[in-house]
Amino acid sequence: MTRRSLAMLPRRLLQAVPVVFLATFLVFGLLKLLPGDIAVTLAGENATEARIAEIRSLYGLDQPFLVQYAQWLWNALHGDLARSLLSGEKVAETIARCYPNTLLIVGLAIVISVVVAVPLGILAATRPGSRLDGAVMTLASVGVALPNFWLAMLLVSLLALDLGLFPATGFVSPFRDVGQALWHAVLPALALAASGIAEVARQLRSALVEVLSSQHVRTLVAKGLRPSSILWKHGLRNVGVTMLTVVSLLVNRTLAATVVVEAVFAIPGMGGAIVNAAIQRDFPVVQGVVLAMVVTVIIVNLATDLLYGVLDPRINRA
């Protein structure tokens, strides 16, 4: 990292603070959308008025909204996200248990997306209008419109159940056995990567076509530079910033998509946690999962911002 980007770090961190703050406010506000009284739900059936009142004061539900929010935020900052209303497990522990599994799949999916999409995008962009270009773009359109959990089901059916190449469902924690964990993560990651590949290939192609048809590249051609050196030295360097944006958006999208794909593979990740919690109205878990994911996205956005400065020195001078 250059010295200039390091100097930007405190300012960028400071700019991220209001976003995190607003995000926590929205996450907490979700609970208040709930029609009906949460204390009544918590007290269970046939609860007396006294019991309901007791629960209300126990959970601080008799306090004003902003006081409740401040209390919740203070606890959250200390790593205390309350307990699940159903299992009684600490939400922070649920997240610590589930998130590594989700992050493994998401990470693997993003690596696959980039590794597959970059060559495809370059091939298409250097031959615009060719049959290969058309094929890549058609595949990309299909990839974007493909329901990822359907693809997951097809992969399980073909590669796991019929051919027995991969385990069909289940998951091994990366902390127990890294090899097995990766092995179980391949199919879910492939299912998630389809739309990622499509998105990255499409964006890379369109950015690269634009750069390669620009005036300065025409000058380089006229100067007699080899096409490969034009592509690597001038083309790809100029699309670096665009690609960074695309990949950082991909983190957000893949985190969302994994929720559904995890269900297909019965993976004990954040998806299973939030879906069960949402159906059973276990709000501390819902809030905790959403908070963990949005903080992840904000951190990725921050890292992306800092990397912009490294890839394109003009940005920090502005």
């Binding site: 709930l34 493909l146 089901m153 929720v259 959403v290």
Partner: protein
């Protein structure tokens, strides 16, 4: 591609649309596919061979036959009939979600772009923050808070998508409000409301149309996801996502069950996306050949 839609022309819109579709076969094909899907979803009760929930317990997971063109599901219900009725639910869901995000997103974006200053700052921060949430995850959380069911789920999806439209409209409004004709209208004493509705909105609407087509595809996929997870449509009603959820349970013994609903989602989403891309080309001639 054609730029007939964007040309300053005196020709009636109907003529220009026909001309555009004639020159852009992909757009024509997607319009045809979407017209079929929408026609099927509206006419579902009349064209489906069986009621969608009629069970035939002696005839479960049957192969396709003359009586059941696409076979039957795990409760002996006709797959074709459920696919047709599922189209109604899925199309309703997609339009509901996108409708909600238009109603929420467009006015907020107009306000931020036109007012500027601290109003814009506050709204833009809010939009940025909302866009940091993974969309489906936030939709699941909001659905949980409002109560599960197709309508609530799709309102949640609409809420979650609305910042995308708001950001687009804001950016467009910032450009349009600098135009001379807006100044001219203000000089003539037009009210803010009139300037917004008569001058700014019509000129900011083009990218919104494109985005709406693309959002319809995303909303369709979101409906499938949420119904698959059990947060959307509830049994015994059919939607394409709910059909995939049933097919998932019987994947080992009847893998062919997952094909019809999955293909239906894929083809419809592909048609919305293709239409969106074609519209983008047609409305913005600077993108020609890209």
């Amino acid at each position: 591609m054609s730029d007939v839609l964007s040309l300053p022309s005196r020709a009636p819109v109907r003529y220009r649309v026909v001309e555009w579709l004639r020159r852009d076969p992909r757009a024509a094909l997607s319009v045809a596919v979407l017209a079929c899907v929408i026609a099927v979803s509206v006419l579902a009760p009349w064209i489906a061979p069986y009621p969608p929930t009629a069970q035939d317990v002696r005839n479960m997971l049957a192969e396709p036959s003359a009586a059941h063109w696409l076979g039957t599901d795990d409760l002996g219900r006709d797959v074709l009939s459920r696919l047709i009725h599922g189209a109604s639910a899925s199309v309703y869901a997609a339009f509901l979600a996108v409708g909600v995000s238009i109603v929420l997103g467009v006015p907020v974006g107009l306000l931020a772009g036109f007012k500027g200053g601290w109003v814009d700052d506050v709204i833009s921060r809010g939009i940025d923050t909302l866009l940091s949430f993974p969309a489906i995850v936030l939709a699941i959380a909001v659905t949980g808070a409002m109560g599960i069911g197709l309508t609530n789920a799709m309102i949640s999806v609409g809420i979650v998508f609305s910042p995308q439209l708001a950001r687009l409209v804001r950016a467009r409004t910032l450009v349009v409000r600098q135009e001379l004709y807006v100044d001219a209208a203000r000089c003539f004493g037009a009210s803010t409301w009139r300037i917004l509705t008569r001058h700014v909105l019509p000129n900011a609407v083009q990218p919104v149309i494109v985005q709406v087509a693309l959002l319809l595809a995303t909303a369709l996929l979101a409906e499938a996801s949420l119904s698959f997870l059990g947060l959307g449509i509830q049994p015994p009603d059919a939607s394409w996502g709910a059909m995939l959820a049933r097919a998932y349970l019987y994947m080992e013994i009847a893998p062919e069950q997952m094909v019809p609903p999955g293909l239906a989602i894929l083809v419809t989403a592909l048609a919305f996306n293709t239409l969106g891309e074609s519209l983008r080309m047609a409305l913005d001639p600077t993108l020609k050949g890209r």
